[in-house]
Symmetry: C2
Subunit: 206 residues, 2 copies
Amino acid sequence: MRSRISRAVIPRLSIYYRTLLLHKSSEVVSSGELSDLTGCTPAQIRKDLAYFGQFGTPGRGYIVSDLKKKILEILGIDKNWNVALVGVGNLGTALLSYKGFKEQGFNITAVFDNDLRKIGKRLEGITIQDINGLRRTVKNKEIQMAIVAVPAEEAQKIVTTLIKAKLRAILNFAPIRPQVPKSAELINIDLSIELEKLTHFLRQKV
Amino acid sequence: MRSRISRAVIPRLSIYYRTLLLHKSSEVVSSGELSDLTGCTPAQIRKDLAYFGQFGTPGRGYIVSDLKKKILEILGIDKNWNVALVGVGNLGTALLSYKGFKEQGFNITAVFDNDLRKIGKRLEGITIQDINGLRRTVKNKEIQMAIVAVPAEEAQKIVTTLIKAKLRAILNFAPIRPQVPKSAELINIDLSIELEKLTHFLRQKV
DNA sequence: TAGATTGTTAATCGATTAACAATC
DNA sequence: TAGATTGTTAATCGATTAACAATC
């Protein structure tokens, strides 16, 4: 019986994966080498990987190509994903013009806003739609994820709408923590909180 | 002797603070009420606040105005902060045009890039400078924080430069984890990692 | 075989939750 | 006073680290 995977493991797999990209697929890499490159301890790396099976070789280490393939599958980044963006204010527009998503296999294929002056306009080659069209578009375009970049006041309502449209993976930039059912995964990126960690640090030092 | 403050406390203070903004300063609020509004447990809220002293009233709760003031001080957001932005590619430009920072008291007062075609141009009213001018500008403009939005390959070099210029608080968007001395605080916001948490979740469900 | 490194169990560490005496 | 809620200590939970037999 497989023990429950610690929440902290998945983000570390992302880190391991990027490090593996620096290696030739034919190479073998040990937990010690990965430790040097990632800053995680060798024990932690072995334990993290062991959650998903035994694919190292005692005395040698891990075959880079095997490990890459395995992590790719675990993370679900062996395919592209279609993403809906809700809210094209400052931050939303910014995220839409950010090319990093597409490079990583995340395609923003639909954009929504509730501002009548914006609806119908094109941005980065995509026509801004009314949120009412969400359900149909999600189905037609096979969208699986959503990025929320609306003001705090609207975020809960939008998230509820997304859930109703059967979206189960949401990246939220609004500075609140919307409620979602357990069947969905919501990740909050709150720039204010991050900045306030820094100001707290600076204040403390004085 | 004050016990060491758990790392997880500070971001929760940010959350409590925002909830307090919804209350009149003259009101009194209990850990139970804050719990309903934040999703944190009452015990956790009381424990978090108790790290910084006793400012609740048994049988009543916390006076909103006092608590606001106290958290404002702890977080260091009772003043404005000057911020340098390094890298005006896609994401950097996006962040520069994002108005949320200024609203929270974070003023981006200097912008740097290493692209000769960009240096000297103006963006959002700020002239893009060569990174060589960093040290002088940091001093002249009393900049205390930096946002890093350069490609992964350049991030470590830039962070080292920032540290040399006596900056001690850095928000990094490059998808690597640069090394910094213990005297500095570096926070990484890695959009790929966050997205991969979501794709892992979706993959797992199938 | 000798040396190296995995996979796993036990020990440690740190953070959260529960419980309750003290207090308004 | 009776009811409510804090501040704090002890118990629990979960994640990380250390240690080492098994294995190449």
